[in-house]
Subunit: 201 residues, 4 copies
DNA sequence: AATGAATGAGAGTTCATTCAT
DNA sequence: AATGAATGAACTCTCATTCAT
């Protein structure tokens, strides 16, 4: 039954201050905390101080909330990343920036949808997966280009594709242990990963 | 209701050939495919050719199946790892072995519980978490020792604790993209990660 | 959403004394009284002294109950009619029997599904409609043959097809006004309609 | 909740060209197509190009729309019928006219409420039923008189009351099969029923 | 050990209706 | 007159779990 609904035909950033924006944000936070399946629409509604039926004024169903949270997150992260990359041509520095941007996206309290993308992938139906996938393409293409360049320079010891997966996994896992409020800053955390891969002579 | 049940007081390896062993195996496989929450006890039972009520002759509840699958997996992986480490004293080689063992555990078809440990952690209640945590301790202690040794030798550029998280994430993520049947063998995959971290002079 | 479920692949008479048989009977009675849409599964369950969830042990959804009630009704009515027609060759007498059988089916307390067929037709999805339609075919074919024969004899003044619709409507409407407990017996009622159409010289 | 509201205290014909008139018309059409219970106020509103909340500026609730649609229909049909009967004294001819008028009312696209009266009777609460019933009285009294007269002349073979039910059913059922756009005109259809009952010598 | 009917809480969703703007 | 966000009760259906057989 989860199969026959499709969202995000026309993706567009929702204003974070709107009712809809707050709703997506709150929902994504709960999805992160408890998992999508374990989060009920009543949980989301009560967090917002409304009743569960009112959610369906804004979204046709629960999955649409997840889908739009992911869509917004990847769009936002893509923009942020491209802005941050501007003017940098050195592949090593580009990688440093990519890592930092992804860390930022994963731990941005105002954009809780980014870290859902991998673990809650299975919660999307085929159509919604296709939609999110297409949005991720531009973002992943950037990564690929940088890593390929590094591979050709023999700065890294693995195929670009394989290395991207390693890095994604390492970064995603930070959501399970890293607390931004601790002693390690996000910048330092990013650098730790960067330096684990790129050894300076 | 998930809160008030505790399993795995007395952990012991179930014979893989027993009815109980097959049950855990089948269930863990389904949990991997669809996620614990989305897998129903009926799914598990029908895969086994029995009715859902019959599951409860073997396990007090669904969570217990998850818990024991994890417990078995970590015990089995620990044994396998310690066997593989025997006689190796060089820290670099030890790391290579650890990585290879974890890849093996993650992709072992006969031990599908290992890859559940992180993503389905939240599906366990407090008691069961404590139980699994204690079983993981010995396993993680081994990792820690090796990584600390490498850090002291300045072979790696991050704190042992942080690096362990990076590696765990990178390895876990392989479950989402790596197919053992493809062109890259598990050994090669392990080596890719090893060489990404440990740069040879 | 009502669209994507199909029932009655393999139609077979359910034993009226079984739990399932009683369930269909009770449900169909309620559908007659209040209409399908206004009858809740809780209504049905509470009439049976069980809880609403238990219904779904026997039927996959509410529509399936309606569908099987119709399927059983038309099968039962077909059998009854063919038995009653045996040995009768005179078309007038055959019509008399057909009318009587349909009156009987419409007012049979133990087969409350028959009178649902027309008014609740729209409550079925496309697949279920096709299923019921195919079951009705044999039944309607009988009517058609008799009425055509009468038309050729010029005993009736309308095309067989049109006349069948008139008769069906007239008979169906009896459910809204006729009470078998009143002064008019079912036999008499049937004869009134018969004699309204077939004028004796 | 359907019980405690009463409409149609003061019945009056709404101008068909008014906003209210169009609304009733559109709603009744939908009620015919999908059934009252399955038609949502959003369906009606979207057909009119407004939002569902706006309906309640014109009508206190959904049931009122149904009720007024019926009320208008019976008033309109009564007027039409009495006009058509004027000057006709022969009972047979009167019946022919009555049948034709009812066919006309049932298939009048501009008066879709008439065919709702029987099948959606159950959707009205007690007060609204009483209201519609009183409006139908004059209309039905006309039928009764004509049929009694025919019965006394022994032109028909059933009690007036019973025959009226037969005819009503036969006519109502035409809504389920007869298409005015087909080869049979409404006049011909009416005559078919007339001639099925009144056999010419 | 297994069945299968039943439970009962709770899930997502629907929808007539209200009301401040 | 119309909007559209919100309500809240009711809906169908799911599912882990129980238990007499």
């Amino acid at each position: 039954m989860i199969e026959n609904y499709k969202y995000c035909d026309e993706v567009q950033l929702i204003e974070a201050d709107s009712a809809k924006g707050r709703l997506v944000n709150v929902a994504a936070k709960l999805f992160n905390q408890k998992g999508y399946a374990r989060t009920t629409v009543r949980d989301i509604a009560s967090e917002l101080g409304i009743l569960s039926g009112s959610l369906f004024h804004h979204f046709p169903n629960k999955e649409a909330i997840l889908c739009i949270a992911m869509a917004e997150a990847i769009l936002k992260a893509s923009k942020f990343m491209e802005l941050a990359m501007e003017g940098t041509t050195d592949a090593k520095q580009q990688l440093r920036i990519l890592i930092h941007c992804e860390i930022t996206a994963l731990h941005d309290e105002n954009d809780p949808g980014f870290q859902l993308m991998i673990p809650e992938w299975r919660s999307l139906n085929a159509d919604n997966r296709a939609c999110i996938l297409s949005l991720r393409q531009r973002y992943e293409a950037r990564w690929h280009k940088v890593l390929e360049s590094l591979q050709q320079q023999s700065v890294v010891n693995a195929e670009a594709r394989v290395l991207r997966h390693f890095i994604r996994g390492a970064l995603l896992e930070t959501c399970n242990w890293y607390k931004p409020s601790g002693t390690l800053s996000q910048k330092e955390l990013s650098d730790r990963l960067f330096e684990s891969i790129i050894h300076q002579q």
